[in-house]
């Protein structure tokens, strides 16, 4: 595959205006599939969750999952959509082995949700309102694995294997209107929009919303219009861009690639393109052809839906605070600087910090622990930080530090104990014997011993060279196995040396 020419991004923007469109698939986290009672879960072995309906066998009869409709309506409402008074399913007919029925059950001219919008805020502070044309329901396809050949990709494969566990899982496909005026921000708009959808789906609890597991998948449409022209360019559709960073990269890449082709006098083919995460390029897939004649028709096995207005209003009342508004509120409540807050958001720790603050910790302490020590341990263990420790446990730990029972260093040891399942912070302090020695008697004994062993240091301190005290403080901390408050030790050292100062400064 020859690497195509790319035009410099700024030059491409000078010559062309990018026009975008996104199709985001959100996989719902219902207990069962869209049209049958098979479990909506993976990992229990290939083809363990199938039945005649989701395998498209004779005699299978689809039945609509009530919860999936509810989730779709809530997602639509959160995106400001109208909920159709009359909606129905349609068959999208095509032959591909990931779809055993030889059609996908989707929606065509009566989607359940339509005409919404999502306003996103870019890093520059620019607000962009993305108009949403529709959000419709459909069922997911099975999973294909291509075998043989040299690369494991489709090209050169000898045969393919199919696991239908995912076949029939409910999806909501959210389709935007054409996005014009994106200009230089086009790649960031793509990333921020998909992040916004993901965040809303997560806040609603309708999806696990993990992009790395394919719960949220994005197809990105890009076309270029020459400056001064009113005619839209031919668009390409880059399929299955499955991380936020990839959405940004894929949009930027297509702008640069198409600009180079057009500038050299070439034409853009209307086609689907594949995004390659490893090399950061897109490659041509199938051009639009006869096979895209899907012959949609109303699904005869399912009766239409007519969500009552009462039900819709009931569901509207269940909507959580919009994530963007919640972020603004929490940042203000916590008094975090932009960078501090971004750190929490980007680490996906907003819920964890909020719960820790609710359990009594100060916002700054909660932030420092989550994005610091806990994130470090989680990173080393390859797990999510919020899976390591309960917010209430962390709040209890922070309380022990603030009460002077633990130094930061001891608290880190207690945290390890809590993570290792040794109990609550208080229990770990007791069982590991980690509390700070706050008994001045024990400290004074250790200080006197250290001073008597280092008469030269004692002389220096008495001479006014207070920095010499460091050697004694170090010896005492060592004798206390670190379980002493260094500031208090310093005070006592100076006192015992006979040069106690008022208002000690570190």
């Amino acid at each position: 595959m020859a690497k195509p020419e790319l035009m410099d991004y700024d030059k491409a923007l000078e010559l062309f205006e990018p026009v975008l469109g996104f199709e985001v698939h959100v996989e719902l986290n219902t207990k069962t599939k869209m049209f049958c009672g098979c479990a909506n879960e993976f990992g229990s072995g290939a083809n363990t969750n199938t039945c005649p309906t989701c395998l498209g066998l004779p005699g299978g009869l689809p039945q609509v999952n009530h919860k999936a409709i509810e989730s779709s309506i809530r997602l639509g409402l959160a995106l400001g959509c109208e909920i159709a008074e009359h909606s129905r399913f349609a068959r999208k007919n095509y032959f591909y082995p990931d779809t055993a029925k030889n059609f996908q059950t989707s929606q065509y001219d009566d989607p359940i949700c339509h005409d919404g919008s999502l306003t996103i805020e870019l890093e520059s502070g620019r607000l962009v309102t993305v108009e949403i044309e529709r959000a419709h329901m459909e069922d997911d396809a099975g999973k294909l694995t291509h075998m043989g050949g040299s690369t494991g990709r489709i090209q050169g494969a000898d045969y393919s294997l199919v696991d239908y566990n995912r076949g029939g899982v409910p999806l909501v496909e959210i389709v935007t209107q054409m996005i014009e005026g994106a200009e230089h921000d086009a790649p960031e708009i793509g990333r921020t929009y998909v992040a916004g959808i993901r965040e809303i789906a997560k806040a609603l609890g309708v999806s696990n919303a993990r992009m790395e597991e394919g719960n949220v998948r994005c197809d990105a449409n890009v076309s270029l219009r020459p400056r001064g022209s009113k005619v839209l360019g031919t668009r390409t559709e880059t399929k299955n861009v499955n991380s936020l960073r990839s959405v940004e990269r894929a949009v930027r890449y297509e702008i640069q690639r198409q600009a180079a082709v057009l500038h050299a006098g070439g034409t853009i083919t209307q086609e689907t393109r594949h995004w390659h995460e490893d090399t950061g390029i897109t490659s041509a897939g199938r051009p639009k052809s006869d096979a895209d004649d899907y012959r949609y028709f109303p699904e005869p096995d399912l009766v239409p839906m007519a969500p009552s207005r009462e039900w819709v209003e009931e569901l509207r009342l269940t909507l959580p605070e919009p994530p963007a508004a919640r972020r603004k509120r929490l940042q203000a409540d916590w008094g975090f600087a932009n960078l501090e807050f971004q750190d929490v958001v980007n680490s996906d720790l907003m819920d964890a910090v909020e719960a820790t603050v609710a359990a009594g910790a100060s916002a700054q302490s909660a932030r420092k622990w989550w994005t610091g020590e806990i994130a470090r341990l989680a990173n080393a263990a390859g797990v999510a930080a919020d899976s390591l420790v309960q917010p209430a446990q962390l709040a209890a730990l922070i309380a022990l530090v603030e009460a002077g029972t633990l130094t930061d260093r001891l608290a880190r040891q207690v945290l390890e104990g809590v993570i290792a399942g040794e109990g609550t912070p208080a229990e770990v302090v007791a069982s590991r014997g980690l509390a700070v020695v706050s008994d001045d008697g024990a400290l004074i004994a250790a200080i006197d011993e250290a001073l008597s062993k280092q008469p030269d240091v004692l002389a220096k301190i008495r001479d006014g060279k207070l920095q010499a005290a460091g050697a004694v403080i170090g010896a005492v901390m060592k004798a206390m196995r670190g379980q002493a408050d260094a500031a208090r030790v310093r005070e006592l050292v100076l006192e015992r040396a006979g040069t106690a100062e008022s208002g000690s400064v570190e």
Binding site: T32, G37, C38, T48, V64, N65, I69, V162, D290
Partner: protein, 98 residues
Amino acid sequence: MSAITAEQVAHLANLARIDLSPEEITNLTLDLGQIVDSVAKVQEVATSDVPATSHPMPLTNVFREDVVVPSLSVEQALSGAPARAGDKFRVPAILDEE
């Protein structure tokens, strides 16, 4: 006279993966043409106040609760497969797409 052509029938046959002989295409063009003509007659009767109907029964909102029911066993699921490899269906490679 219907607007169905032999080319359209051949196109549909291709989309539906049905292998038709030239003779079958000729016959089906006639048959489908008659069906389309018959439907056109009904359309003459239907005035603009008659909405298009996709479902004959005045029934809506038939839902199933989100409760898991037992699936087929892997053996049952694969029993009709033309080919299998382990617990997966084995299908010919698809070469027309990257």
